[in-house]
């Protein structure tokens, strides 16, 4: 009987001492694995911003049109200059 009481007291003491240690062990954060850590969701601040893409798309459209109109205007001017030059030379040749 005395032996049984001793065992019971030992078990109670072991539980009282062991429980906090066990809960402490459970609370410890898991060790981070080395290398890349996979996540399901992209962090909010890491998402690709849409504003620069939209601005670039509209900028490219405007730029392409402006460059093209400028190129036509330049070619028209070049042709006009050439025409005036030839007309002058034809006229000069006719006078001779």
């Amino acid at each position: 009987m005395k032996c049984f009481r001793f065992v019971r007291a030992f078990l109670v003491a072991a539980m009282m001492l062991g429980a906090p240690a066990l809960s402490l062990a459970q609370q410890q954060p898991p060790k981070a694995p080395e290398g890349f850590v996979p996540v399901d969701q992209v962090p909010g601040q890491e998402e690709l911003p849409a504003k620069p893409l939209v601005a670039a798309a509209y900028g490219v459209a405007w730029l392409a049109v402006l460059i093209y109109v400028f190129s036509i205007w330049k070619r028209l001017n070049a042709v006009e200059r050439e025409m005036a030059d030839i007309a002058r030379r034809i006229e000069a040749g006719g006078r001779r």
């Binding site: 939209v54 798309a57 049109v65 042709v79």
Partner: protein, 246 residues
């Protein structure tokens, strides 16, 4: 350019006779130009306000607003490609030099509008799909069509005398690709949205969309007017070189 180089600079002069039509007195061929310019500029200036006021798309958010210019430019590109094809056919079978001028101008505008489509598309795709480019039916067929019209321009630039007929055939085939490009999203499995998107647009999105399409169509007419005029003047220049040789 100096006169001794005149023959080198006018490759077309050896293959054709001077046009009598080009010697007619000019009746203000650019008379509509200021009006068209005013309309197109007004529409393009107001378009950003309409697009900003349009609602966001539920899943794509802000980046979906590229749609208004992307599809507008694509529709104008299809119209330009068709114009080039029809004008090329008229030139090939009807032997009208005026049709060749229209085809050349339309091919150049197709390439310019195609560039807008092919740049704005990947900018949208990067956010919506996570990649810049996908080798699916719509994207690949659009790129092929753009390359066909690029080859038209290269042929005109470096093809030498007689390249008009060959390039007209290229223009005809290029315009035949338009229906394939348009229906490619319905015929094959693709990540690109189908042709159902436009007919099912919400009324609040339809207004800005139609505005942008109209703006691009006006721009197309404006650029065609200007570009055809350039070709007319080049023809007149060729005639002057021929007169100089005589």
């Amino acid at each position: 350019m100096s006169i001794p180089n005149a023959k080198l600079q006018t490759p077309r002069s050896g293959s054709r006779k001077p046009e009598t039509a080009s010697r007619r007195p000019e009746v203000g061929s650019l008379s509509l130009f200021p009006l068209l310019l005013l309309i197109a500029m007004g529409m393009f200036a107001y378009a950003p306000f309409m697009i900003l006021n349009a609602p966001y798309e539920a899943t794509m958010g802000l980046v979906q607003k590229i749609f208004y210019f992307h599809v507008g430019a694509a529709i104008a590109m299809f119209v330009a490609a068709f114009t080039c094809g029809i004008a090329s056919a008229i030139f090939l079978f009807g032997r009208r030099p005026g049709a060749d001028r229209v085809a050349f101008a339309a091919a150049e505008i197709t390439v310019m509008l195609g560039l807008i489509v092919l740049i704005s598309g990947p900018l949208w795709a990067r956010k919506a799909w996570g990649v810049w480019w996908q080798w699916d039916a719509r994207l690949t067929s659009t790129l092929v069509m753009w390359l066909v019209f690029q080859s038209y321009l290269l042929l005109r630039r470096f093809g030498g005398p007689g390249s008009e007929k060959l390039s007209a055939a290229v223009g005809l085939f290029g315009s035949a690709l338009v229906p394939f490009v348009y229906w490619s999203v319905n015929l094959w499995r693709t990540v690109h949205p189908t042709t159902n998107v436009v007919p099912t647009l919400a009324p609040s999105m339809r207004g800005p969309f139609l505005w942008c399409v109209l703006a691009f169509l006006f721009l197309f007419v404006l650029l065609m007017t200007l570009r055809v005029e350039l070709e007319k003047r080049r023809t007149r220049l060729d005639d002057l070189y021929l007169a100089l040789e005589d």
